[in-house]
Amino acid sequence: MKNLTYAEALREAMAEEMEKDSSVFIMGEDVGVFGGCFGVTGDLVQRFGEDRVRDTPITETAIVGGAVGAAMTGSRPIAELMFASFMGVAMDEVFNQAAKMCYMTGGQAKVPMVLRTPVGGGIGAAAQHSVCNESWVVGIPGLKVVLPSTPADAKGLLKSAIRDDNPVIFFEHKVLYETKGEVPEEDYTIPLGKADIKREGDDATIIATGMFVRKALEAADQLAKEGIELEVIDPRSLVPLDKETILASVDKTGRAIIATEETKRGSFASEVAAVISEEGLYSLEAPILRVCSEDTPVPFSTVLEQAYLPSTEDIITAVKSSL
């Protein structure tokens, strides 16, 4: 094991795949000499050259559409969107091109591309740079959607995403970039579609993603002191979703709380709630609760942003109300 940051783990995943497969390349804004807005691509341009680590103009539509075309013709692009908040600029390319190409062509076209992009608030970046828009892509058939919460998951999932023959939206959380964790020395991948039980417990199930896995684990630590044992499930890949693991846990605990940073209405959290209420209703002993951000744009002031974001305390309150 080695100790890496989430950002370093992501960089390692890209470097290893680029070394193995010459058709893998990176493109995005300031991914070259600048090293990426959050430093994720770092020195890759020095290692792999400007042809394979391509600085683009400010041109998200062409970046994502270009990745689709490159993926259809024998390359494996890793496109970076500097912020997930900018996905609207390239949404047609995500939705009508990347996601549908295989289906529309009756299975002819293969679109092995990864779209890496950071979500999340907590750094005062305000309304247009802080969104968690997982729900936009979770509902789009043809995409896979990933959001890792630890360096080890980040690396293993990104390698799987790069090797996958389908378009993968790979969300990263800004605040996690500098967090550290143990990462295996050897070559490994983590399959898309397999949830990870980050902590076992019998009293209630928390399904949490990204930053909120950390907050859920904090909540679990605190509740453990009161004798309440949370089971914390990190789906890791939102699509495909590991329903089995989630439903089995809810069946065991009888309680489901979904904690994500998204605004609540129309969220991935809503989807998980819908799945449980459809396929696991008889397991439930209490309402399914969503602990999510307020249904507002992300405010700038630190005070407001903290009021906007759910806290560990909010998770604890939700758990207690459901017991």
């Binding site: 391509r54 683009t56 062409a62 270009g66 490159a70 692009p77 047609d92 295989c102 062509t105 299975g107």
Partner: protein, 328 residues
């Protein structure tokens, strides 16, 4: 330019094939045998054929909602195309795509596209692949005058230019985007310039405007641009002036244009122009011409029959192909 008879005849055949194909689609759509929307290429045949005749099999094209002509010109199979338009399981896309989404990835046909202007970034992508994978494949990117007002046009031409991508941008200026004139001095217009090719200046690439109803002119211009792209000379923009004979889609009342305008353009029929040339120059005889036409008619009839007689997809197929599966 194509010089030898064989090549010239091939172009003529393709143009006739498109004409015949589209006329059949028109007919069967009117009869209710074809669902959805169809956008016909009648009157514009010279562009697809002139351009694709400049390409090798492993070159790429991206197409549009008005894509039948491009696909046939790049070598698309008439039967599989017709079957797809009829929504049959024997179609290129197993009936999942229809007229607006036909593709033959193995022939470098990266698909018709229902989103105006969406083919441009995809063409950037195949251009990038040529660089990443070190091939000499060139991409011809077809799009309309209307599409040239979309942001994708701008972003793609810019990207192609700064990265020197091997792409030939072929703008089919058929004077309208649905009801919107590309240009007119007074009144509604899609853009305030007469020639779309003027936009090339903004990207530092070459841009020319040619007669899109002259297959030899198109072929010559695209040929040169392809050569340049293949030898690392970067992208070009070629605007081909033409006219669509039919409404925007079948069913369009065309209340936004005059019949006289259409009649004027029908006089410039690209097939008549080319066949007259071939006959005048005695490259073909009237008899040969008729033989070709008959052969093509038969070919398209067979394709139609094939489409009509093919099976519908099974309802169970609806959930296949959402994700890619390697077929052995």
């Amino acid at each position: 330019m194509k010089e030898n008879k064989e090549e010239l005849l091939e172009m003529l055949e393709k143009m006739l094939e498109i004409r015949e194909f589209e006329s059949s689609v028109q007919q069967y759509f009117a009869e209710g045998q074809i669902p959805g929307f169809v956008h016909l290429y009648l009157g514009e045949e010279a562009i697809a054929v002139g351009a694709c005749s400049a390409l090798k099999e492993d070159d790429y094209i991206t197409s549009t909602h008005r894509g039948h002509g491009h696909l046939l010109a790049k070598g698309g199979d008439v039967k599989k195309m017709m079957a797809e338009i009829f929504g049959k399981v024997t179609g290129y896309n197993r009936g999942k795509g229809g007229s607006m989404h036909i593709a033959d990835v193995s022939l470098g046909i990266l698909g018709a596209n229902g989103i105006v202007g969406a083919g441009l970034p995809i063409a950037a992508g195949s251009g990038i692949s040529s660089q990443i994978n070190g091939t000499d494949a060139v991409t011809v990117c077809f799009f309309g005058d209307g599409a040239s007002n979309r942001g994708t046009f701008h972003e793609t031409l810019n990207m192609a230019s700064v990265w020197n991508l091997p792409i030939v941008f072929v703008c089919e200026n058929n004077m309208y985007g649905i009801s919107m004139p590309q240009y007119q001095s007074d009144g509604r217009k899609g853009q305030n310039i007469k020639d779309v090719a003027d936009r090339a200046v903004g990207y530092g690439i070459s841009g020319i405007t040619i007669d899109g109803n002259d297959v030899l002119a198109v072929n010559e211009a695209v040929n040169e641009a392809v050569k340049k792209a293949r030898s690392n000379g970067g992208p070009s923009l070629i605007e081909c002036k033409t006219y669509r004979w039919r409404g925007h889609f079948e069913g369009d009342p065309t209340n936004y244009r005059d019949d006289e305008e259409l009649e004027e353009w029908k006089k410039k029929d690209p097939i008549k122009k080319f066949s007259s040339f071939l006959l005048d120059e005695e490259i073909i005889t009237e008899k040969e011409f008729k033989q070709i036409k008959d052969k093509i008619k038969e070919k398209v009839e067979e394709a139609t029959k094939f489409a009509q007689e093919s099976a519908e997809p099974s309802p169970d197929d609806v959930t296949n192909n959402v994700y890619f599966e390697e077929v052995e």
